[in-house]
């Protein structure tokens, strides 16, 4: 097993650039997630690694082995890449039983009958599906099909495991259980894994590192904690944890902190984000970090309650204040229509207004 390297990878369809200049090194054994909204190029990248999509330029290597090189025109067909892939729809072959599904890649590798049986048994035990070997795919539930699909992708011991939103067809409860189980399995096998999802909670829960993608580019690459705590730009801040954005202008600051005059002339302090700033900025702050306080003070803005919803564990209110609309989550119900909101400077990050995602 070796590191997977994407080198300046681009994928175009005609004049449309689906993936632009993506470079990534995924060390062996790592669980890396490509995270982003639909159409961001994450699945396109994944399928280019598998060889089922054709990249336009750049290179894909596994250790020394070149899988794709745009310059020399090397394209290794998917069947020679020895990669395991779990599809969103599982893609189990309906005319074959579970055992036959698993035997197929082994037969293509000319593996002897006895070893085939042994490997199939092992792989099915691994996903706790040993009892279902003789069943046909249509006789299995969604969760069981997903496990069989995983077993089929692992049974021939691929150098790399690719997962294309494998949990998105499961119901919410099962999805949460499955992601824990998936992560444990991956750690046990130590197989290098690239995982594609649009679900940020899933990405945060399972990944060693996350690459947040948007419009074909990697916006930020980091551990789940880095991505959540120090988003690189307003897009990442919005996509992970759906931040609020308060608009304003910079009026001073030092040491990575700045004073910002919000649209209602209140001045607050905030950290300066990685993306640099300009005169016009947005202050990103997550709804759960805002606090309702008794009266005016430092970093406090006044706001009017527009509406609210009870979400079970918390209340979420929609507020208008400081020239912006924003959300706040609290454990207590708000009775008044006018409130004071404390914006913690350590939880507020400044980005240039241009980088703010369009709603």
């Amino acid at each position: 097993m070796a590191d997977l390297i994407l080198d300046d990878l681009s994928i175009s369809y005609g004049s449309y650039k689906a993936v632009s200049n993506v470079s990534l090194t995924i060390p062996k054994g790592e669980f890396l997630t490509l995270l982003g909204p639909s159409g961001c190029g994450k699945s396109t990248t994944l399928f280019a690694i598998s060889g089922l999509n054709h990249a336009t330029s750049g290179a894909i290597r596994m250790g020394e082995r070149v899988l794709f090189d745009g310059r020399s025109g090397t394209v290794v067909p998917p069947e020679q890449r020895n990669i395991g892939l779990v599809f969103q729809s599982y893609a189990l072959w309906p005319h074959m039983s579970v055992a036959q599904n698993l035997a197929y890649p082994l037969k293509l590798r000319k593996i002897g009958r006895a070893e085939q049986d042994e490997r199939i048994r092992e792989a099915l035990e691994l996903v706790e599906m040993g009892r279902f070997a003789e069943r046909y795919p249509f006789e299995l539930s969604g969760g069981q099909q997903q496990r069989v699909a995983l077993a089929r992708a692992l049974v021939y011991r691929p150098g790399l495991l690719l997962l294309d939103e494998p949990l998105s067809n499961l119901d919410a409860k099962l999805r949460e259980r499955a992601r824990v189980w998936l992560r444990e399995l991956q750690e046990r096998l130590g197989v290098t894994t690239v995982y594609v999802t649009h679900d940020q909670a899933e990405a945060l829960a399972v990944s060693d590192r996350i690459a947040v993608m948007d419009t074909g580019r990697i916006r930020q690459l980091g551990t789940p904690k880095e991505i959540y705590e120090t988003p690189a730009d307003a897009f990442v801040a919005d996509f992970i944890g759906s931040s609020n954005f308060l608009t304003g202008t910079v009026v001073g600051g030092s040491d990575g902190a700045a004073s910002v005059r919000l649209d209602d002339r209140t001045v607050i302090r905030a950290k300066v984000g990685a993306g640099g700033t300009g005169e016009n900025v947005v202050v990103a702050v997550r709804p759960e970090r805002l606090q309702i306080v008794g009266g005016a003070g430092d970093n406090v803005v006044q706001a009017t309650v527009q509406g609210g919803a009870y979400l079970g564990s918390v209340y979420q209110y929609e507020l208008v204040g400081a020239g912006s609309t924003f959300r706040v989550q609290t454990s207590r119900e708000i009775a008044d229509s006018q409130v004071f909101v404390y914006v913690p400077p350590e939880a507020s990050t400044l980005f240039s207004a241009q980088s703010r995602p369009q709603a």
């Binding site: 892939l85 599809f87 691929p158 096998l189 197989v191």
Partner: protein, 572 residues
């Protein structure tokens, strides 16, 4: 398995797949271009194309358009095609709505009978109509005896056009019934909850959604009208009314001394251009049909509309239509085959005889025709299905650079009238050195039939192919299978029902085919259709009917077995 050793990738040859792509594409192109090239060449030669001294000329077209009566023939053809289309669409669509969506008594049975004519050639239909409604037909004479009037004259342009229209109505019915019964029930439910009555919802929502089916089948029927041989031959021949097809037939086959190659070539090119334009037009008209695409795969079928007290009125009308245009036509053939002389004036059981069948079974040539038809249909069905599935797999499921072009070429025979396909293959075998070998054998017939009906087989296989998710192929590729392994091990097994359907459809089409064969058969390779035409020309109506009866019986047996044993879907 806690320690994952790097497995070795499966070995597979990419070259194997590429070789298959090219072979399939080149063979398809040769087979499709094969019959067309010599026709176009012949149209511009002043001598038969096998003569070395033949020189290029445009004279054939000049002669074609200046020859006395040619304008008349073109007008006849257009009139005939338009009336055929209008009559077929009118009856077909009305029947589809009534049978498909109302609580008409006996709708199941009526629906079955309505598609009978699709299983037989319009040669059989023409003969049935002639036997019953011709100038001395059984029903014609019965009406004449009852009323003293001469009720109709089918030996006229209008008469034969209406016969053709009624013969083609089942095709329009088949296309429309699919549209009205597979419509998403929720669309009508939405209209109901918006305040529409069941009938109103049907007429204002579902019926307009038949438009793509109507456009598609209308153009199809128009094209069939233009290229139809049997009905204009049987009904127009005696009174000297010609269409382009009967003109080509006469010039090519029946010309007293030597057939006029130049005129035939030019006429064929003209026909090819007209039909090509129509098929192109069809494609254009179908372009925005996404507006009418309903959600598929819904379990809920639209409910039936209660006709109330009109139920039996509708039944009487529909039953009369089915009785007089379908049952009577088939009955005419069966009756004529089993009597020495068919007339309403003498009870027909007094004239019962087996002589017609005895005649057929006493002549080796006639028996051979029947055997040839069965062999050609059976082998052709298998060969055709194999060709079509290969083409469909390359066109729809490969990364071959020219896959779109391949599909285009493979579907081109839609614009290739049967008479042209036959003529083209005829020219090709006398023109291309070496092909003389298969001249006059059943193999040239199989080749011509397969090429002509590639689009029919494609129509049975392509939709089934698109139902098989592409992830299944992709999963096989990533598991280590190359293209050929993937399609043979994953796609083909899943495609099995569609392969049977394609085989059954091709069998039926080959078995009823006659137009394509008229220029190609020779003693020894005659088929039922060509023999019927021959017998008809000699005026032997009894044996013609006996042959037609045998053809209908074999077809019925085949359809029954194909549905039972193969589970083949034939027309619904």
């Amino acid at each position: 398995m806690t320690e994952l050793a790097a497995g070795s990738p499966a070995h597979a040859g990419r070259d194997r797949s590429t070789a298959i792509f090219w072979t399939v594409s080149i063979l398809t192109t040769i087979l499709v271009i094969g019959p067309i090239a010599p026709i176009i060449l012949q149209a511009f030669l002043d001598q038969p194309l096998y003569k070395p001294e033949a020189a290029l000329t445009a004279g054939n077209f000049v002669r074609l358009f200046t020859e006395a009566g040619m304008g008349r023939i073109v007008l006849n053809t257009l009139f005939f095609a338009v009336v055929t289309m209008v009559v077929a669409q009118l009856f077909g669509s009305v029947m589809a709505v009534i049978v498909g969506r109302t609580n008409l008594p006996g709708r199941k049975w009526i629906g079955e009978i309505l598609i009978w004519p699709l299983f037989v050639s319009n040669l059989v239909m023409a003969f049935g109509w002639f036997t019953m409604y011709g100038p001395s037909g059984y029903i014609t004479l019965a009406v004449k005896a009852g009323t003293g009037l001469s009720p109709w004259n089918l030996y006229s342009l209008t008469g034969m056009s209406i016969v053709a229209g009624l013969s083609q109505a089942p095709l329009a019915y088949l296309m429309c019934i699919g549209a009205v019964t597979k419509a998403d029930a929720q669309l009508e439910d939405a209209a109901r909850s918006a305040g529409a009555s069941p009938m109103k919802a049907l007429l204002s929502i579902t019926v307009p959604m038949m438009r793509p089916a109507m456009v598609y089948s209308a153009v199809l029927n128009f094209v069939i009208g233009i290229e139809m041989l049997a009905i204009p031959l049987v009904f127009g021949g005696p009174s000297g009314i010609h269409t382009v097809t009967t003109f080509l037939y006469d010039q090519g086959i029946n010309a007293a001394v030597q057939s006029d190659y130049g005129i035939v070539g030019a006429g064929a090119v003209m026909l090819l251009v007209i039909v090509g334009l129509l098929v192109w037009l069809q494609g254009r008209l179908m372009k925005d049909s996404g507006r009418f695409v309903t959600v598929r795969g819904k379990a809920s079928r639209p409910s039936l509309v209660d006709l109330g007290k009109w139920r039996w009125v509708a039944f009487a009308a529909v039953a009369a239509y089915v009785l007089f245009t379908i049952v009577a036509v088939f009955a005419g053939i069966f009756m004529r085959a089993s009597v020495s002389f068919l007339t309403p004036l003498v009870p027909f059981w007094k004239l019962l005889t087996l002589a017609n069948f005895e005649l057929i079974f006493s002549q080796p040539g006639y028996i051979r025709a029947i055997l040839n038809s069965v062999v050609i249909s059976f082998l052709g069905g298998i060969i055709g299905t194999a060709c079509v599935v290969l083409i469909a797999l390359v066109a729809k499921r490969s990364e071959f650079r020219f896959r779109r072009a391949l599909e285009y070429v493979a579907l081109f025979p839609r614009s290739l009238p049967g008479i042209i396909a036959g003529l083209g293959f005829f020219y090709a075998v006398i023109w291309v050195p070496g092909l003389d070998m298969i001249r006059g054998t059943i193999w040239i017939l199989i080749a011509a039939f397969v090429v002509r009906y590639i689009p029919i087989g494609f129509g049975a296989i392509a939709p089934a192919l698109s139902q098989i998710g592409e992830e299944l192929d992709r999963a096989s590729r990533i598991s280590g299978g190359d293209w050929w392994t993937t399609v043979t091990r994953i796609v083909l097994p899943l495609l099995k029902p569609a392969l049977f359907s394609s085989f059954a459809l091709l069998f039926i089409h080959f078995f009823k085919e006659y137009v394509t064969a008229v220029f190609l058969y020779q003693p020894g390779s005659e088929i039922i259709g060509s023999t019927m035409l021959q017998l008809y020309a000699q005026g032997d109506n009894g044996p013609v009917s006996a042959l037609a009866t045998i053809q209908v019986i074999i077809t019925a047996l085949f359809v029954f077995m194909a549905r039972r044993l193969l589970g083949a879907k034939i027309y619904g």
